[in-house]
Symmetry: C2
Subunit: 457 residues, 2 copies
Amino acid sequence: MGYIEEFFEFLSIPSISALPEHKPDIAKAAQWLKNRMVRAGIEDVQIIETKGHPVVFGKKSAQTQDSARVPTVLIYGHYDTQPADPFDEWHSPPFEPEIRNGKVFARGAADDKGGIYPAIVAAEEAIKEESLPVNLKFLFEGEEEIGSPALKGLLREHKARFECDLVLSVDGGMFSGQIPSITTGSRGLAAIEIEVAGPQTDVHSGGQGGVIQNPVHALAEILTGLKDSEGRILVEGFYDDVVEVSDEELKKFAQAPFDEEAHRARLGVPALFGEPGYSLIERMWVRPTLDANGIWGGFQGEGIKTIIPSKAGCKITCRLVPDQDPETICHVLEDHIKRHVPKGVGVNVTVFPGNSKPYVIPENHPALPVITDVLHELFGHEPVNVRLGGTLPIAPAFLDILGTYLFFFAMSGPDSNAHGPNEFIRTEDMDRLRRGLRMFWSKYAGSYAKLGGPKGI
Amino acid sequence: MGYIEEFFEFLSIPSISALPEHKPDIAKAAQWLKNRMVRAGIEDVQIIETKGHPVVFGKKSAQTQDSARVPTVLIYGHYDTQPADPFDEWHSPPFEPEIRNGKVFARGAADDKGGIYPAIVAAEEAIKEESLPVNLKFLFEGEEEIGSPALKGLLREHKARFECDLVLSVDGGMFSGQIPSITTGSRGLAAIEIEVAGPQTDVHSGGQGGVIQNPVHALAEILTGLKDSEGRILVEGFYDDVVEVSDEELKKFAQAPFDEEAHRARLGVPALFGEPGYSLIERMWVRPTLDANGIWGGFQGEGIKTIIPSKAGCKITCRLVPDQDPETICHVLEDHIKRHVPKGVGVNVTVFPGNSKPYVIPENHPALPVITDVLHELFGHEPVNVRLGGTLPIAPAFLDILGTYLFFFAMSGPDSNAHGPNEFIRTEDMDRLRRGLRMFWSKYAGSYAKLGGPKGI
């Protein structure tokens, strides 16, 4: 079976992790992966069960003489996909892959089957040539799209098995379609829910209007007390641990191609908006945020219902930057809200579990010049440094548990429609990933041998 | 059939106006009423069809010599009821009336079958005694519980038929169980909906956090700009037309028995709350309000969804006092909001139709001393003046269209569970209404003859 045919077979399995009815497909995809890895010459291939969907593991030792001075690279990716709805917006069915103009369209094409399949093929090629320059480990999970609930526990339980010098994530993507990018960090996450309690039931706004505080107005007062009309967060202590980014790094960020006006137009907002005194790039990547994700209270139907609602609530998440700690931030938020309870209501704050630390790769990490070198060669253009505004719980998890930094090494473009209809990956980008991985392994092994030293490089 | 047996028969008809499956019961109740009115000696009894549920009309001329100097009193009430759920909280089935300790329990017992039935009986008694001292008209509608959608149109269309000197509403109730009260006004209503539009779809709070304004925060900013944390309304022009109430009237209000602490405890709020500088009674009755009735935006489910919502919205109603005009108020609200649009979002304001004017009976209205006199005699206690914090669209409708003031003349207590499970009316209060109406007709006819003059008295 050819390279693309085989990829199509993998893409045809609707391994949607969020939908229970697709559990057999998840199992099928894990089995498919296992078989394919075994055929590639990867060893010790195992399907490791978790409370949810299984992880597929495998490894292969370097095929060199001096294996003591050879680094171990763990390839991370996931074989589960997002759900595919809305189905009627797909030009071809999401689980019947189709190639059009050099693009493979299917759910999971970019995120992340088009990452892990080329990685296996790259390993297979090296193994067949008997020239694998690094020790490889593979960790392909089946729950990335539902927040990797089992991953931390698995890393802790099987710490020795996953030990490595570097994690390469083949999940992710390039910041721009033209210029290669290296993602050097991501923001953390802290989440709370605020509930404002007024009268014990909804009451008549005629009878009680003027008599009691309205929980919706009280909640609005709390919200405007958390962030001002310019976008500055007003919570005492919120910015205390924020590390200002060096001018050097800011200069690097400025090289990332970003068209603010096009971005504004795409979002459909009258103007971009955010914390005064910082550029858009800073606000996106290295400044923390506080955003209500949802708000509710009282009557939401058609027409009028003249009540004062009994309760109102909202969910708040903050994106955090180094060195903000999610637990500390939840604490200062809760404290602030408790110190500013509006008159005439009760307020309850719930801290959500599943907070995540911000993540940043040290500027002097020795793998950075290697990746820079590889990307330059692959794209014919110096890569730019970028950060991710979002949160990658797995990166700080690998760092906390294994002490190992995770680097993104994924080639799909920002236009890949990941999570949306008509997701695709360019076959060209798959080729780049395959070639890039082999280049990286070689160069990294060379660099590692030169610098010496085990883990931590 | 006895007085109570007959009342039970009327109460057994589940004439719920809100539920389409009860349309035949509405028709049955209207027919029951018509038959009963005919039997009472009321003339020209008609079921007048509307787009919704019919109105039952009837009239009877005064049985006196000098009918030119006799006033015409229109008795207003309604034969429709609220739905009866939650059924399992009723101690006896809502449409199987039961008498316990002098209270008749049934849906509609107080609101308003226990108002209109004694009114018909009172008329019947006077007619049989050939001593009816006023011209009577009856307007019993079947849509009060759904907002009287057809009433205004009907009054306009059949203006001559409904013309009168005074409307007596047998719908309503006493402010207190101990001391009789006269409701001298009610607040008006103005309603708008605010929609804040941010990005054209919900967006990722990681990718766009720090980049765009969050519609929920923008809406909170709008809300805190409408009313301050003390309860003062900040909208320019909002208070312009508010008439300050005379010290004399305030003194009268202060006589109404009202236990603030018991009220607070019943509502379950930590403290009562409202516009500084005004007493609770003033805030309830003669100061305008602005309240969000509902708010929504973004994710309202369990757990976390890290989005910046595309939209957020809320519904606002204001209770208005003399001489605020609902249309003007909607206008100043809209103007204020449009002048204070938060950065980075669009804002849309929708004005709801169905606004209603505030209503107040002039302190020197000549029927007031008559009602005062009657209530004093009935209860053995001087009545207190009260206002209604809520809105009575029918009162300003009668005034606007017929030029006639509406007075409440209803005896059920504030504990009658109207709209709730175990609604009841005391047989004693039904008797009081029957006797009270006859006393009022006599005294009013006397007063009218003395003062002379037609309509307007």
